[in-house]
């Protein structure tokens, strides 16, 4: 099965400011792809390019097998899109919104829509403008899942929401989107970590890396080495080791290319006096920080 989303050297510049630079992205079918990166990294711009809201300055993107610039009603009927900064028709009630959208989608499932309204506890007769931010996001998600889209694109959907609402949204999404490809952008890494199958890290408009969550989690380790006396850092410090910190007789660093056999051997080679080595798995948040810092250091170098 071909990738629902694929970009080739996708670039977007606003006047002289590059927002996305030669982005090569491939989202595997059926994956939950987390596009992460700091604020202003180019995540939202990338998604707007994919959705044909913006036009690329150069390069191209394919969405559901169609050039993003030619994305039309046929393709949009198969895509669910929710964004934190989307302007909803605020004068509509939840009920009217769903009734209004129904004729646009041949695959609209009324029972599913009603079920989500109940699950999200959405007040049917209340206008969207009178709903809280969390409720509006729920309404937007319900209206984007009711036609069982093949591709769901979520742009920072959890920003500014409390933990309970986030949980409800994630549950609603995962329960209704089995087998669906999901692209979700966020800098809220904790939620992404809990359900993403793939991660792409974007910074300054460039995709720094992308890989499956499982391999990413195995690749990053927080390493703690204990010595008899404070160690001196060797000149041939491996480039995959970052954020070295020494505190009395303890050295801590992040290994971005962790290997259960190679990493301890390398430590023992560089620090023959090492007394104890401990390698612990890192949460995605810490991995993200490590990547961001490594990116800045390499840019400064």
């Amino acid at each position: 099965m071909s990738s629902p989303i694929r970009t080739q050297e996708l670039s977007k510049a606003f006047r002289r400011q590059d927002a996305v630079r030669e982005l090569d992205l491939e989202v595997p079918a059926g994956s939950i792809y987390g596009l992460i990166g700091p604020n202003g990294a180019g995540k939202t711009t990338t998604i707007k390019l994919l959705m044909n809201i913006l036009r690329p300055s150069s390069g191209s993107a394919e969405v559901l097998g169609v050039d993003s610039r030619r994305l039309g009603p046929k393709q949009l009927a198969r895509i669910g899109y929710v964004s934190e900064n989307q302007e909803l028709p605020e004068e509509m009630t939840v009920d009217y919104l769903l009734r209004y959208l129904k004729p646009f989608y041949p695959a609209w499932d009324e029972a599913l829509a009603n079920e989500m309204v109940r699950q999200f506890d959405l007040p049917r007769d209340r206008k969207l403008r009178h709903l809280s931010r969390g409720m509006r996001m729920k309404a937007a998600l319900a209206s984007s899942l009711a036609y069982r889209p093949e591709l769901i694109i979520l742009d920072e959907p959890f920003t500014g929401l409390d933990a309970l609402v986030r949980l409800e949204l994630i549950q609603g999404l995962l329960e209704r989107a089995e087998g669906t490809t999901i692209l979700i952008s966020s800098h809220d890494l904790a939620e992404i970590e809990s359900f993403a199958s793939h991660i792409g890290y974007i910074e300054e408009g460039r995709l720094r890396f992308h890989e499956e969550m499982s391999t990413l989690a195995e690749r990053f380790r927080q390493v703690e080495v204990i010595f008899e006396a404070p160690p001196a850092l060797p000149r041939d410090w491996p480039p995959a080791w970052s954020q070295p910190q020494t505190a009395s007789a303890v050295l801590r660093f992040v290994d971005r290319q962790f290997d259960p056999e190679r990493t301890p051997a390398e430590i023992r080679r560089l620090f023959p006096e090492a007394r104890n080595i401990a390698c612990t798995a890192m949460p995605l948040k810490d991995i993200f920080v490590a990547l961001a810092l490594a990116g800045r250091q390499s840019a400064a170098a």
Partner: protein
């Protein structure tokens, strides 16, 4: 079509208030123009300003409604809900057009018909005029409003664009001196400006809905508005005169009409004053000069061109050239073209070749009707329903004619010209109401005496050129 109707129903549901306001204002407008125009009949020469104010408010309401309508699914911007939903832009545009037709065009048509009916005219007989008014309002108001709304994000931007456009047209109209420079040809820059504005805004609207390329749409709109507004300032008179001569189709042969040089045999000294006689006019017709141009070619390649000039135009001091309307002398009216001193100084008494070009309008007298002032209405072919009123000014009578269609006929009262007519298509003659009014003042021999109204039909607009070889404009070298 199903999607368009679906969107239309949604718009009606959520825009009922501005729709209601537009309908109410249209009804108020119809009422204000349906009242008996007795204010005029009672000698109040300045019509009541209320209809004009209502019309202004109605125009504002229409702009507001269109902006609200477009903003429901705004093409400009990158955060709109509808952009990521399976809308067909054609259905969306059709839905918006349907709403405009339903809540602006149709009420406007009904309002026009009501005004005609209330003023004693049959709406059915004025179908062509009513259709032209629909085209005009769409071209002048609705399309620009829709295109501007489609390229903006906020009502403040719409208001700013509207004000800028109004200011631009006012300044350009003033700078172009439309009525003074173009005179009887004013319909040409007016119609061209309207066609450019309507065509450009239509293309911009389609482009913006289909592609949502707001910066390009804004550029196109700015260009269209700029070109359209600049139309009166561009003065390609030669082409305009050629165009004018095609309208209306000459109903009588005027091929014999020509110009000849008629120096005064009693005063051979020309001193820059050229007498041009118009010969060959068909019987019962008269010629009125519209624009005149003179070109002087002297020895050694020296030349001077006046450009097309209308007689009443107050040119600089001293004016390079002046001329007067043909002196009506039976079948051979004479036009005087005076080249002024500053130009004469360049050629002195050297023999020069002069070419005089004259754009003129030919009228033919039609029927004469005897009218008694203050004695009711007279239906007069070509003018509509006319009534004569004794004016407060002693010895004069005010003639008022109203018609359901724009009339290109003129008239004379007691043998004197009261109103010259000119050709203009309905688009250029678009006015506030469907009732066209023309008026003129005639002089009475004594109070209560009848007046004789002679209608004049426009026969043709034409241009004639006259070459005058080797004449001396000044017999004596002019003083330095």
């Amino acid at each position: 079509m199903r999607q368009a109707l679906h969107i239309f129903r949604k718009d009606v549901r959520f825009l009922w208030l501005p729709m209601l306001v537009v309908l109410a204002m249209t009804a108020l407008f119809a009422w204000s123009h349906s009242a008996d125009p007795s204010t005029f009949a009672k000698g109040n020469a300045r019509p009541d300003e209320l209809p004009g104010m209502i019309n202004f408010l109605l125009t504002m309401c229409r702009w507001y409604f269109i902006a609200c309508l477009i903003y429901k699914e705004q093409p400009a911007g990158d955060c709109q809900f509808w952009v990521t939903r399976p809308y067909s832009w054609k259905s969306l545009l059709a839905a918006k057009a349907l709403a405009v037709v339903a809540f602006i065009n149709v009420p406007f048509l009904i309002s026009d018909m009501a005004i005609l009916w209330a003023n004693g005219f049959s709406p059915a007989r004025a179908a062509a005029s009513l259709l032209a008014r629909q085209i005009a309002i769409t071209a002048i108001i609705l399309l620009p409003a829709a295109a501007i709304a489609a390229a903006t994000r906020h009502l403040a931007q719409v208001a700013f664009a509207g004000l800028t456009l109004t200011a631009l047209y006012s300044v350009a109209h003033g700078a172009g001196d439309l009525d003074q420079s173009w005179h009887r040809l004013a319909w040409i820059p007016t119609c061209t400006a309207v066609v450019v504005l309507a065509g450009g805004t239509f293309v911009a609207l389609i482009w913006q809905f289909a592609r949502r390329r707001t910066p390009i749409t804004r550029l196109v709109l700015a260009g269209v508005c700029g070109i359209s507004a600049a139309m009166p300032m561009a003065k390609p008179f030669a082409g305009a005169i050629a165009l004018q001569s095609l309208f209306p189709a000459a109903s009588q042969s005027v091929s014999a009409v020509h110009l000849s040089f008629a120096p005064d045999s009693h005063d051979p000294v020309i001193n820059g004053r050229l007498a041009i006689r118009i010969d060959g006019l068909p019987p019962a017709t008269r010629a009125v000069a519209d624009l005149v141009e003179a070109v002087i070619r002297g020895p050694n390649g020296a030349s001077w061109r006046s450009g097309w000039i209308w007689s009443s135009r107050p040119y600089g001091n001293p004016a390079p050239m002046e001329w007067s309307q043909p002196w009506e002398n039976g079948q051979n009216p004479v036009l005087y073209v005076k080249i002024n001193q500053g130009v004469l100084d360049r050629f002195q008494s050297q023999p020069v070749n002069v070419r005089v070009s004259l754009a003129m309008t030919i009228f033919r007298a039609e029927t004469t009707t005897r009218m008694i002032p203050d004695q009711g209405n007279y239906p007069i072919a070509g003018l509509g329903v006319c009534s004569a009123r004794s004016s407060d000014a002693a010895g004069s009578s005010l003639l008022l004619c109203r018609s359901a269609e724009f009339q290109s006929a003129g008239f004379r009262i007691n043998g004197q010209t009261a109103m010259d007519a000119s050709y203009a298509p309905s688009l250029a003659a678009f006015e506030e109401t469907p009732v066209y009014t023309s008026w003129g003042v005639g002089y009475l021999f004594h109070q209560g005496s009848p007046i004789y109204l002679t209608t004049e039909r426009l026969i043709a607009h034409l241009r004639r050129d006259l070459e005058i070889p080797r004449i001396r404009l000044a017999e004596e070298p002019s003083q330095p």
